[in-house]
Subunit: 244 residues, 2 copies
Amino acid sequence: MVIKLTISYDGTNYAGWQVQDNGLTVQEVIETALNKLTGEVIRITGSGRTDAGVHALGQVASFTTDAKIPANAYAKALNGLLPKDIKIVSSCEAQDGFNARFSAKRKTYGYRLYVSDVELPVKDRFAVRVDAINEALIKQAFSVLRGKHDFKVFSATGSSVVDTVRTIYSMSLKKVDGFYEVRVTGNGFLYKMVRFIMGALTAVSDGKLRVEDLLTVLASGKRPNVIKAMPAKGLTLLSVEYKK
Amino acid sequence: MVIKLTISYDGTNYAGWQVQDNGLTVQEVIETALNKLTGEVIRITGSGRTDAGVHALGQVASFTTDAKIPANAYAKALNGLLPKDIKIVSSCEAQDGFNARFSAKRKTYGYRLYVSDVELPVKDRFAVRVDAINEALIKQAFSVLRGKHDFKVFSATGSSVVDTVRTIYSMSLKKVDGFYEVRVTGNGFLYKMVRFIMGALTAVSDGKLRVEDLLTVLASGKRPNVIKAMPAKGLTLLSVEYKK
């Protein structure tokens, strides 16, 4: 049976999603819980890796099992074994061949900023402090970034991905609860792509990069020094969509 | 010189505001930083104690010092010495005789709930999960609680306070960013009073306590078992007001 899990985590204390040697990862913690629950050694596939410190409201993972546990019972059973900062929001049976990574059609990330002279501990766990925000300039920059582009310039070096063309379907900026939240929906994202896009948007907002220059940056594939990857803690994987 | 500090903290890892033997407190951490900064042994006075695990966006504290540091420089200087989960939002000189506790006129607390079948790690640090919310019933209950009452029934036993009459100036329920936030402004609050009020409101919302019965509870001073103190983590001291 193929099981689909929807997962929420506070990534603060994890070395990202994917199993690795340097530090505990979210995938590893869930696989350990699944092993305790089923007795099987199960490898789960996430919709994608999230970096160290990145959070998730709706990460999706899939796995195959011979266990005789009803699909919708995994959420509750696993939550009893998982730590407070990783929880299974829901579990269900997926069609044969479903793969959380390869079947994914669209992903939506949210990135939160807040304006303050001082880092505010009640806001700073899931967001990043900035001195100011120019909403109009950020919205102008969206028009450059939306659509199908080679986003190589917005990916970290060291990635093995060959095809760096991705499509951004929508971008929005909303003021909510004292935060500015940028939401971006696309068919896929390169390593650190959203964090570099946020670096570009904050550079535009700060007047360090003109909106027109963003076009040149995308076209030339050369990233100016003013565009840096913004911190992981402001980023949350909100949802992953699959074909019905 | 009398200095007034406005302070924000994530209370998760502290045994509350006030210095005590069992565990590290926010007051203690700030006093240690002040000692390093000024060389003086300084005792600060908070506007009130917050319990273990309660957060603050705008706690206020005051102290007297002979140090020759400009009043508005304390915020930045202390923030360099403080941990990430305690920050000074601002510092200024206060009038002689100003005392953060005794000069306080009004305090506003916020308490956050969210509706979900499962605890969500990205929401659960500053809020509490509930199965459902009946907004209409909660708003009806506000009309019982607003005003001047003996709130003894909504305070924890063991408090040494004699006068248990307090005035609640306003209460509101707002849906914001996926949370339900109850805000309550009053001239002062008894030990655990907001958490017991939240216990009463959630009991009313769940249909375990009728709004009419809240009147009886307040009048009789007998707290039924359905009213429990809600968890500290959902509570944030938002602001403290002083006479201009």
